[in-house]
Amino acid sequence: MGFTEMKGVFRKEIREARRDGRLSLILFASTLVLLVAYLFSFSSQPIVAVVEEDGEFPRLSSLSEAVKLRYFVATEKEALEMLRNGKVAAVVCFKSHGVEIFAENSYTGLEAVKAIYSKLSEKIKTTYIPSKSNLSYLLVLGVIGQGIALLLASTAISREKEEGTLEMLLSSKLPVFDFISAKFFAVSILSIIAVSIGAVILILTISPVYQNYTYLTRVYAEILLLEFLVIMASAGVGLIFSVALSRDEGILAAMIFLLANVILSFHSFYPFYLVKNIAIFSYFLPLLQAKIAFGLVEIEGANILSNLLMLILYTLISILIALIIFKKREKSFVGGVNP
């Protein structure tokens, strides 16, 4: 393994990508898609859950007029679970000793609720409870990143094969490991840069303001780490497609893989709940791993180490598979009847 050679291939990849008009267009378009997705995720209306504890509903009609009142549940625990899962943005609890509200500080309906319940201000619990309604949109980062990584990686080697440069590479002294590793790092870093631009714009401009910045930093750091690992795992899978298939077939396989990730990962649709047998396979999708970890990130003290390890393992195994396939097929890449 030669670090110099690996670095050389990496630099070559970055240079080529920088000058590739189509790729620049894809990166630009995906950043736009990201920003649009973020804007949409912030346009949703907050929903309030009300707990019936002692059967007292003072001025409930006024409350439903002031805010978007959606659910009525029996226990505080259940309501807080809904808040944690991002189903609601705030919880109003009617208790014998008064009214309590659980909400994020960013909850915009707080003033309206205060106006109705004068004593509320004394009872407000300002404990920060992050909700999926604010975090789950970050999964879009993962989808875009995964899409870019898959697209780049799935053509990384087949492109060299079809353009004839692989023949020169294979006849040189460049070790296959260096070649594959450099491709992997180049694809991963390009995709991470593309996603990071969107993430930085998001965090600096339209992200909601939280009081607890330390907590927020941890949440964002963990989410970005997950996104980056999803990208790296996807780059590994893309390389397998690129080694095993032609350029067009590789792109098709990559898109199918991306679609499977998206369908099985978004909370609006859980097909694996219906078909139990495929549930186990779903956990081998990088985006779903991230999604599972997202559910833990928002809970303070929860550990996402196993998900991170799973994604790292996924990445290493996919690179290894790509290497094995490459070595096995090395002698057939440039063969065939000469035109």
Partner: protein, 287 residues
């Protein structure tokens, strides 16, 4: 200077059911230019790819050189890199040391007249320039053996001449050069030429010595004349014009041949001398 750097024995290459090369053997020595001559799809590229370890094969390929330069037939350059970046990249993957890399790149840019184009992106260059750059890339690491697949095809005369000058200089420096070509002019400049047809070695000739002379006999009795030639071990072919007898020196051989015919009682209507160039010899051999 006769040390073998590449030895190929009984080489066979198949792609599925298609046999591209069968039982092919030859060797390449230090300081020689060996031509591999054949028409398109005759199996030349497959032979070269086997030497470079790019295809599966049966048989034996031995290479004693520590470095080999290879120039594929197809343009194999990075279109989005500049001329200089391509050269530097190929220098790097062929492990040209840092301290001599700059000098080597500069030297090749100059000798192949690419200096003015070094910052141009390859995708904006013409075919001839790309071939020159590919040739430069194949020798960037100063290899002991150079394997070239149709390096001069479709190039203009000045470019061909420039590349030939470098090839000949490399030969003088003791490098072994294997050059696959379908161009007879290129084959004529090689020390030895292996003829390949349908993946089979047909002959091995030395262009300098291959220029053949034949005596064209037109006897009154063809059968008797052929029997006499067979008896004396002459090699000949029968053509529309008569019997063409292969000899080393026609001027010297004619009187002896006529005397032999006269003794057998064979009258010869006419004799003539035919001198054949490499192209005619090769086209006759390859059919």
């Amino acid at each position: 200077m006769s040390e073998e750097v590449i030895e190929v024995r009984d080489l066979s290459i198949s792609y599925g059911n298609f046999v591209a090369v069968k039982g092919f053997s030859f060797n390449l020595k230090k300081g020689e230019i060996l031509g591999l001559f054949g028409s398109h799809s005759s199996g030349k590229t497959s032979v070269l790819r086997a030497i470079m370890g790019l295809v599966d094969y049966e048989g034996e390929v031995t290479c004693s050189a520590s470095t080999i330069g290879y120039m594929p037939q197809k343009i194999s350059l990075y279109a989005n890199l500049t001329v200089e970046e391509n050269l530097r990249f190929f220098a790097l993957i062929n492990r040209v040391e840092d301290k001599i890399r700059d000098e080597r790149v500069r030297e090749l840019l100059n000798s192949l007249d690419l200096e003015n184009l070094k910052t141009s992106l390859v995708k904006r260059l013409g075919y001839g320039i790309k071939r020159r750059l590919m040739f430069a890339a194949s020798i960037i690491h100063d290899p002991e053996v150079l394997v070239l697949d149709e390096p001069l095809s479709n190039l203009d005369s000045p470019t061909r001449e420039r590349i030939w000058e470098i090839i000949e200089r490399l030969k003088e420096m003791g490098r072994g050069i294997l050059l696959a070509t379908s161009n007879i002019e290129d084959a004529e400049r090689c020390g030895r030429v292996v003829l390949i047809k349908d993946g089979v070695k047909i002959a091995e000739i030395e262009p300098e010595r291959v220029k053949e002379e034949r005596i064209l006999l037109k006897p009154f009795k063809f059968e008797k004349a052929m029997a006499a030639l067979d008896e004396f071990g002459f090699r000949y072919i029968v053509s529309e014009d008569g019997i063409e007898v292969f000899v080393d020196n026609a001027s010297i051989a004619i009187p002896d041949l006529l005397e032999m015919m006269r003794r057998r009682g064979i009258e010869v209507e006419r004799t003539d001398i035919r001198r054949l160039g490499l192209e005619e010899v090769v086209s006759e051999i390859l059919g």
